[in-house]
């Protein structure tokens, strides 16, 4: 996760999550926000659940940001072998 959000949530670079059911962007973010409520609204809009424009999701060397939030994430992510990377876009000064 971006450094600013690590500090906000009081976590390190890696957050391990137990996800019930299918592992998707939506279920991962639901689990992340439930375990770390300070992140509510910072990665996706709290009402519409739309990804914030300058947040990206990468995994297994693929940019999954514009995939359906309900599409299954790669098996390596679901089994914890590979991370889902939450990236703050490189922009601004």
């Amino acid at each position: 996760m971006p450094k600013n959000l690590q500090i906000l949530a009081g976590v390190g670079r890696v957050v391990e999550l137990e996800v019930k059911g299918q592992v998707t962007q939506r279920s991962v973010l639901d689990a992340l926000e439930a375990s770390h409520p300070a992140l509510l609204g910072t990665l996706r809009d709290a009402q519409t659940k739309r990804r914030r424009p300058m947040i990206r999701f990468f995994a297994c060397e693929e940019d999954l940001s514009d995939e359906s939030v309900d599409a299954p994430l790669p098996g390596e992510v679901a089994t914890g072998k590979e991370p889902l990377l939450i990236i703050g876009a490189i922009a601004g000064g």
Binding site: L8, D45, M54
Partner: protein, 371 residues
Amino acid sequence: MSRVRVLVGTRKGAFVLSSDASRKTWQVDGPHFAGWEIYHLKGSPVNPDRIYASQSSSWFGQVLQRSDDGGQTWAAVGNQFVYEGEPGTHKWYDGSPHPWEFKRVWHLEPSLNDPDMIYAGVEDAALFASGDGGTTWNELPGLRTHKTAPEWAPGAGGMCLHTMLIDPSEPDRMYVAISSAGTFRTDDAGKTWRPINNGLKSNYIPDPDAYVGHCVHRIAMHPSRPNTLFMQKHWDVMRTDDGGENWREISGNLPTDFGFVVDINANEPDTVYVVPITSDSHHFVPDGKLRVYRSRTGGDDWEALTKGLPQENCYVNVLRDAMTVDTLDPSGIYFGTSGGQVYASADGGDSWNPIVRDLPAVLSVEVQTLK
């Protein structure tokens, strides 16, 4: 012994500056929320150790923080600002209708008598309130649904509700200022609002004395005389003595009447301070000189205050929430600049010293006078 705590919001974090009543030596604490834009911090007048902070970022949106120990430790509270009902539209820069969208909290105004009660002025312009210390927020929709609201349009900085004043003698009466809709007053604790812009003249809008549409930059009230308000408008410094029913210009001999801040000496309700800025196309002080102007007559006659302020090669701005006064005697005056300096005067403006010189660009300055 009394002491003061200055709360500074910057483009890249918050800082807490502390001193005793002499206001000569300062302890600097921060940055808090490093890397985030801190539009405003303000403490509860009832419980000064309770401080609220608006933390935002283009990447990560809005976060609200609260401290209950005078700014030493902080915890995120509620950040859900949802317009009530169907938000509707306001005018966009090109005149087209644009949906109301929450962007950030510009201004926090704690209640005068309840530390759990706080108001938030937001962009796109609306007023929210929390009765539980910032955990949950509800809109006071009477303002945003005013019949003129579809005609409101953003200024260059966005369509923000940036200033709120609560009448200490009549708590149901409150004032807000919105860029660029103008000034509004409620007499029923925020249920209904009406524009109070009579007397404002703005040559940059099609109808210079329009009912709404004026770019008000800041309004200020002295608690002992709540019907008198001072205003720094986009251009013009203004004054009302009847709670905003009528305004008159008091720019007098100012070198330019463009600017952002206006504030009032805590012990002298007719002593007013502004920082003239060259123009809306040159957002820096005139002639390379940083000068605060003081009127001891409630306007019209102004004197330049320069002692201790740079008088050459200075090209900073002072933004609307970046001036404040303490309640010691003599009153301390503080302001922060786009260059990252925070200046303090412990003698009502006669002389100035920098508390810090190299912070990120300053967005807001508030002071707490502590017993």
